[in-house]
């Protein structure tokens, strides 16, 4: 190798270590970037050339600049992210339900029922008293109003969840479109044999975000495309550079709430009951199961109270000795709790309240019977008293909320642990980068010194010619 060959070797070394310094700089610059995967530069010796007596190396080259990943950890992380998203949505919804039905800090349906039974109990002591009649009527009206109010609050929550479902479905579509587009860009960039690390990072982040929204199965094919399908149904969401959209369409069977559909072989298929992962799955479960379960409890309570009270009230007699009417009425086409109202006639004229078991004004048999419902195990409530039934219904929501909260906390710990495992492989260690920076700096300095030395030798060689 001649001196110019040595200069070339030195230049190649300089450029190689400059690249290595750039990679280190890139890692350091992105130390705080969420989802960044550290880059590693692999160096290899330059091809040796035959010389007399053996081979001489030609310096150092960049073999590969690639991001460092552990696909198994990434897959686990995506799966657990989906579960975390599911639990997060479920927990949020349960807290909303609990706020609507819990009476730990503010009076609700249970307190209203208690007040109504109290009012009938007081009425029984003086059934002719107009003030006590008015109180009992208002207490009954309050029960109906509280049931309406609580049911409607839960229904409003379902509508909120529905709106979030539509937003998330749109968000998922945006992500699948981006991933499909990134698949295409990555394929183009990597056709030259170099890894498109930055685009891969962007795509990984998009896949992680998608996993938080919906439970997916994702794998990278041999060409570097990420193929994504729904974990629960296997329907493809991203096939190479094509994305399949999820749609949130109003469903008449759900009173206009959205069904999440996907077109399969030209036909829109309702996936809502099967999507039970990710935030979308959590919202669907909350909307269709959690909130409706509490609404069903309220409906059951309302219909039982209405039926039992009305039966007693119709058998009783009002202040004028006339047979009692229905105390509660219901609206057609809505749930019992949503449609229960106090008989408008009785509300306007409390003398129509049937407190007596005989046509006699001082008789309080019916008022006593109604007030004693508080202690009666009602068949419609599964042989529970109203208070026991309501307490158990609220307790169940509380229990589920606490359970989901505990699962969410455990899930958060698991995610942190998986992120730590991912960081172990893919995260940037400033200590490590400091050492590499020091190494590459020294190598770069040495390469420069080498060039300087060869340059001096070249000068010496040139001066030899000049002196002759």
């Amino acid at each position: 190798m001649d001196l110019f060959g040595a200069l070339e070797l030195g230049k190649r070394s300089l450029l190689t270590y400059q690249s290595a310094l750039n990679v280190t700089g890139q890692n350091i610059a992105n130390v705080g970037t969420e989802g960044f995967t550290r880059r590693r530069i692999d160096l290899q010796p330059g091809f040796s050339q035959p010389v007399r007596g053996g081979f001489l190396g030609t310096g150092v080259d960049v073999a590969r600049i690639a991001s460092v990943r552990d696909s198994m950890v990434e897959r686990q992380l995506r799966g657990e992210t989906a579960r975390s998203g599911f639990l997060d949505s479920r927990h949020g919804a349960l807290r909303g339900v609990l706020a609507a039905v819990d009476e730990s800090s503010s009076p609700g349906v249970g307190a209203a029922l208690s007040a109504m039974f109290d009012a009938f109990s007081a009425l029984a002591t003086q059934p002719e008293n107009p003030a006590l009649r008015r109180t009992a009527v208002e207490a009954g009206n309050r029960v109906a109003q509280k049931l309406n109010e609580t049911w409607n609050r839960l229904d409003g929550q379902r509508a909120d969840l529905d709106a979030q479902i539509e937003i998330l479905a749109a968000g998922a579509n945006d992500l699948t479109t981006r991933i499909a587009s990134l698949n295409k860009q990555i394929a183009i960039q990597e056709s030259g044999g170099r890894e498109a690390s930055d685009l891969r990072d962007v795509r990984d982040r998009a896949v992680s975000e998608l996993a938080r929204i919906v439970d997916i199965t994702a794998f990278e094919d041999q060409r570097g495309n990420v193929q994504i399908s729904l974990a629960s149904t296997g329907d493809p969401l991203v096939s190479t550079d094509t994305a399949t959209a999820l749609s949130a369409v109003p469903d008449p069977a759900r009173n206009g709430l959205a069904a999440v559909t996907l077109v399969r072989a030209g036909v829109a298929v309702d996936l809502s009951p099967r999507l039970r992962g990710g935030r979308l799955g959590g919202l669907l479960e909350a909307r269709d199961d959690v909130v409706t379960a509490s609404q069903a409890d309220l409906d059951l309570l309302a219909s039982s109270i209405m039926s039992e009270v009305n039966t007693l009230h119709r058998a009783g007699f009002d202040l004028s000795g006339a047979a009692g009417l229905d105390l509660f009425t219901s609206a057609a086409g809505v749930g019992a709790a949503a449609g229960i109202t106090l008989n408008a006639g009785i509300l306007a004229d409390p003398t129509l309240l049937a407190a007596a078991a005989t046509p006699s004004p001082g008789d309080s048999g019916t008022a006593i019977a109604i007030s004693e419902l508080r202690k009666t195990r009602l068949a419609g409530l599964g042989s529970a008293t109203p208070a026991t039934f309501l307490g158990a219904a609220v307790g169940r929501v509380g229990f589920e909320t606490a359970g989901t909260e505990a699962s969410l906390a455990a899930q958060q710990d698991l995610l942190i642990s998986l992120q730590a495992r991912r960081d172990e492989v893919s995260g940037v260690s400033l200590d490590e980068e400091a050492v590499r920076l020091s190494q590459y700096q020294a190598a770069y300095t040495a390469a420069a010194r080498f060039i300087q030395t060869i340059d001096e030798l070249t000068q010496v060689a040139l001066s030899l010619g000049a002196s002759r």
């Binding site: 130390v31 705080g32 609990l98 039905v101 819990d102 009476e103 730990s104 800090s105 249970g110 208690s114 039974f117 109290d118 109990s121 007081a122 029984a124 002591t125 003086q126 002719e128 008293n129 007596a356 005989t358 006699s360 004004p361 001082g362 008789d363 309080s364 006593i368 007030s371 004693e372 508080r374 202690k375 008293t385 208070a387 026991t388 307490g391 158990a392 609220v394 307790g395 169940r396 929501v397 509380g398 229990f399 589920e400 909320t401 606490a402 909260e405 906390a409 958060q412 942190i416 992120q419 730590a420 960081d423 172990e424 995260g427 940037v428 260690s429 400033l430 200590d431 490590e432 400091a434």
Partner: protein, 290 residues
């Protein structure tokens, strides 16, 4: 094991978040004095609390019913006591009429007896909270007309004084004043006999009034027995209320010393975590390289 930048901080932040959640819960328990401030604190405990609270409310309602029933029976007893006095006065007037008095004196005694009858009639119309106490359940009707005819009914006014326990709080005016001895009639008979100088009639009326004293006394005994039943029921309710309040406290109330200890421990943990985060988390090799 590689420790990447951020791993440490992420773990500590998660720990801080968990400590913050626990501290918020502990603070809520301390400030409210309750262990259950939401059903999510203890689902089964909260269901139990709901039932206990309803039991307490029911007991409260029963006690109010007992108070009113006691007032009603008190008014009844006072009316009966007054009736006994009137009858005794009638008996005294009868004795006067039988002790050889002349017609004009007997006429004056008869006027006195008429007045006693009038007072007795008013007595039968005793009201408690605007309800006639001797009219059965026809509480808005005068129980007796001027002629002494009973206008009420035989209905009983029930009071629910405990679970599965109702008590009839009224005494039928018919049974007290009419059946057995017709008390108003006895006064009237006495008056007629006095005016007519009918000695056997006066004696018969006198005998009726003597029997009437026992009849009224029997009514007072009934009222007294019912008062005792009310007292017994109230004692039972009070005992149950005390037990339920104890139960409520056990289930619902915060264990203050334990909560204070827990809050202090969490605060220490929080401060320690923040100190570690501030001091150690930011150190790396660059700090030591020239």
């Amino acid at each position: 094991m590689r420790i990447a930048f951020g791993t440490f901080q992420r773990g500590l932040l998660n720990t801080l978040g968990n400590i913050g959640t626990a501290l918020a819960r502990s603070t809520a328990h301390l400030s409210s004095g309750r262990r259950i401030t939401s059903a999510s604190d203890d689902g089964s405990g909260s269901a139990h609390v709901a039932v206990v609270r309803e039991d307490l409310t029911r007991i409260d309602a029963r006690r109010r019913t007992i108070d009113i029933a006691r007032g009603f029976l008190g008014a009844t007893d006072a009316a009966l006591e007054s009736a006994q006095d009137l009858i005794r006065s009638g008996i005294v007037e009868g004795v006067k009429g039988l002790s050889g008095t002349n017609a004009s004196v007997r006429a004056e005694i008869a006027v006195q007896v008429d007045s006693l009858r009038e007072q007795m009639l008013r007595n039968t119309r005793t009201q408690y909270q605007d309800r006639y106490v001797f009219a059965g359940t026809a509480t808005l009707t005068d129980p007796f007309d001027a002629g002494g005819n009973y206008l009420g009914n035989a209905g009983t006014m029930q009071a629910a004084i405990d679970d599965q326990l109702t008590l009839a709080v009224n005494l039928s005016g018919d049974a007290i004043f009419k059946n057995g001895v017709d008390i108003l009639g006895a006064f009237e008979n006495m008056s007629v006999a006095l005016r007519a100088g009918d000695e056997p009639g006066m004696r018969a009326a006198q005998d009726e009034l003597v029997k009437a004293v026992d009849q009224i006394a029997s009514g007072r005994v009934q009222a007294g027995v019912r008062m005792q039943a009310l007292d017994a029921a109230e004692l039972s309710l009070l005992a149950r209320e005390a037990a339920l309040r104890g139960e409520l406290s056990r289930v619902e109330d915060a264990d203050i010393p334990a909560e204070v200890t827990s809050a202090a421990r969490l605060q220490t943990a929080s401060q320690a975590t923040m100190t570690i985060l501030a001091r150690v988390g930011n150190r790396n090799l660059f700090d030591f390289l020239a």
